[in-house]
């Protein structure tokens, strides 16, 4: 068996590989669940089917789908731009945290003023916070050639310490009886990011996620910057001759992904999470990396991948509750998905030939 490079990536496989990867993951995941002593079929059904269609749980789970998918999609859309251009921002988790801190700080600064302007200001602050945090690795790479992968990732640990110190220090709820954690923004209507339509889970973050999908689609297909991003990813040398400024492209990709991650954090802290706590972040920034690849770095694909990944979160919680499946097994499951995806991705770029054919 040998591999033969295709002259052009296969379009059919491009669509089929994520589906194939999901199926393979379900099989491998089933084996893992069986090893844990659970019925694999029940486990898979609990994760992928029950949250949406089981009478008992669907009413609660369906709205959760949008709530969980929104931050994943927002972050993954930003990351996908960079990944296409060969700019590896893997510190979205940190930018997400900083966005949440900045957004919450602005909201809390106005407490208890009931002004219309508070929430828009929080949105701006969240985006700006994430943007600036992402600019650190961006500028270091452009100015000094420092590896942005390592810097952006190391900054996640810095951000985690920062959120802990904020929850214990400046942002701590003065009426919280000394417990760590800020005021609950859900109880402060001017700063709250509540459901827009009751019972759907639709909040401003979901709206922003949908807008970001459309924005990214137009950018990549109809705009010169999008063309530059794709060009730089496929052929850096050609891009340089084509007049692409590599430094500016790095900053653009870093900035957009940081701002979107910051927005995601801000919508999360003002909505579903409600407050800045010590363990505010739950790894959306890392899962979003899987979402970006599962969606083949394509905006529409990311939308679908985000929903699927949100489903594994909700289904995982359900399986934890119903079957006693450990929460870590979902994390392993998600990691497996990325593995299978990368493994079968080969089929889009290579043709598998059986035997030693003479034809080249």
């Amino acid at each position: 068996m040998r591999l033969e490079k295709r002259p052009e990536p296969s379009r059919a496989w491009m669509v089929a590989t994520p589906v194939l990867a999901v199926i393979l993951t379900m099989i491998a995941g089933g084996v893992m669940f069986a090893l844990l002593g659970k019925d694999p079929f029940v486990a898979i059904r609990t994760i992928f089917w029950d949250p949406l269609f089981n009478e008992q749980f669907a009413a609660y789970s369906r709205p959760q789908l949008l709530v969980k998918a929104a931050p994943l999609i927002l972050i993954a859309i930003g990351l996908s731009l960079g990944f296409r251009a060969g700019v590896w921002n893997i510190g979205a988790e940190g930018q997400y945290i900083i966005g949440a801190i900045c957004g919450a700080a602005v909201g809390l600064a106005f407490y208890p003023a009931d002004l219309f302007i508070v929430f828009p200001l929080m949105v701006l602050a969240g985006a700006l916070g994430g943007f600036l945090w992402a600019m650190i690795p961006g500028l270091l790479r452009v100015r000094f050639g420092t590896n942005e992968i390592l810097v952006s990732l190391l900054l996640v640990y810095v951000a985690e310490q920062l959120v802990a110190s904020m929850a214990l220090g400046p942002l701590r709820n003065p009426e919280g009886g000394g417990f760590p954690g800020s005021r609950n923004l859900q109880q402060y209507s001017a700063a709250s990011n509540g459901e827009l339509i009751a019972g759907t889970g639709m909040h401003w973050g979901v709206v922003a996620a949908f807008i970001s999908v459309i924005f990214a689609y137009i950018l990549l297909n109809r705009h010169l910057t999008g063309f530059h991003i794709r060009l730089a990813g496929q052929s850096p040398r050609a891009a340089r001759f084509g007049g692409v400024n590599p430094g500016r492209l790095v900053l653009f990709c870093m900035g957009v992904s940081g701002a979107l991650a910051g927005l995601a954090g801000m919508f999360e802290v003002s909505g579903p999470a409600g407050q800045i706590g010590i363990d505010f972040n739950v790894g959306y920034g890392f899962t979003a990396i899987i979402v970006a690849f599962l969606g083949r770095l394509h905006p529409v694909g990311i939308l679908l991948a985000g929903l699927l990944m949100a489903l594994t979160y909700i289904g995982g919680e359900l399986a934890q509750f119903m079957l006693g499946l450990p929460s870590a097994s979902i994390q392993a499951f998600q990691g497996m998905l990325l593995f299978f995806l990368l493994a079968v991705d080969m089929l889009t770029n290579f043709r598998v030939r059986i035997g030693r054919g003479a034809k080249i």
């Binding site: 000094f144 390592l150 810095v158 990691g335 593995f339």
Partner: protein, 308 residues
């Protein structure tokens, strides 16, 4: 605040311990990168090694067996990376990340039943009268055997890369895989061996954290050590000797900030806790500015596919 509570001798002695996991992981990754492969999954392999080593040591009562299994666990996970990147030609950055995400998940899964247990103690190497020497004895000759194993490993890797034919071939593959392939060297096979070695080293480093440095099991306990090891390879300009320097620098900062926390310095604990990461970033910037990465292996992260 009581700075006099910090004993410099004890500080340097614990620095050696703090640096050991980083040395192990970084020297393994150095070999991988020298062969032209960028494996960003060090963190995942370390945490997998940490739980494999911990579990086996607890079950068998033997830390040595724990370390051995940790190395195997790390190598197995690394071979997954090798299979994907070398045979199925996937993107190395993405696959490395997948390895880290998967490793964190699988280790938390295995580790559930091991929370709150103490592992068997790793034996201290008895050096007789040497350990009784004032100051030097405490700093150099009173550690467990893994500390010396790590140092020996650095020396072996250094000698291998510099003096042996195998080392030369490894470097050739990393500098120009087309040429190495044309000369008849099995590029993929050599790289797979390097990747397995890197995984085993990372596994050992992880096990050192869970068996000696902490010693207990908590989810995600490597806390970025794998990423710092990656940074230290860059800091070391891909030279074995400098890995030691980088790891001691980092170990020193870690130990110092822990001591400062204990001494009650009027700086928030969180600021002290983030200092190792910030300083690593600062050092990275210093090392990469000026010289434009010319010491990196030329084929680092590049795909190799023999078309004929």
């Amino acid at each position: 605040m009581n700075l006099s509570a910090i004993d410099p001798v004890l500080l340097i002695a614990s620095l050696m311990v703090a640096a050991t996991p980083i040395i192990l992981a970084a020297i393994g990754e150095l070999v991988v990168e020298k062969s032209g492969v960028l494996n960003l999954g060090v963190e995942g392999m370390m945490i997998t090694g940490a739980i494999c080593g911990f579990g086996v040591a607890v079950e068998s009562g033997s830390p040595v067996l724990g370390f051995a299994l940790a190395a195997i666990g790390g190598a197995v996970l690394a071979m997954l990376f090798g299979l994907l990147t070398q045979v199925l030609l996937s993107n190395q950055v993405a696959t490395g990340l997948a390895l880290t995400l998967f490793g964190l998940g699988i280790s938390a899964l295995i580790g559930q039943s091991y929370r709150g247990i103490s592992p068997p103690a790793t034996t201290r190497l008895d050096m007789g009268p040497l350990s009784d020497l004032p100051v030097i004895g405490r700093i150099l000759f009173s550690h467990d055997w893994m500390v010396y194993f790590a140092l020996a490993l650095v020396a072996v890797v250094w000698a291998f890369l510099k003096f042996t034919r195998g080392g030369l071939i490894l470097r050739a593959v990393g500098e120009n895989h087309e040429a190495a392939h044309a000369l008849g060297y099995k590029v993929v096979r050599i790289r797979l061996m390097a990747i397995a070695f890197g995984g085993a080293c990372a596994g050992l480093g992880g096990a050192y954290i869970s068996l000696v440095r902490v010693p207990q099991w908590t989810d995600g306990m490597t806390a970025g050590a794998g990423w710092i090891a990656l940074a230290i390879v860059v800091f070391a300009s891909w030279r074995a000797g400098r890995v030691l320097l980088g790891a001691y620098l980092f170990g020193g900062i870690t130990v110092l900030q822990l001591n400062l926390q204990a001494a009650g310095v009027p700086v928030p604990v969180e600021v002290l806790s983030m200092s190792p990461y910030l300083i690593t970033i600062a050092v990275l910037v210093l090392m990469t500015s000026g010289r434009r990465g010319n010491s990196a292996p030329a084929m680092l992260g590049r795909l190799f596919h023999a078309s004929s």
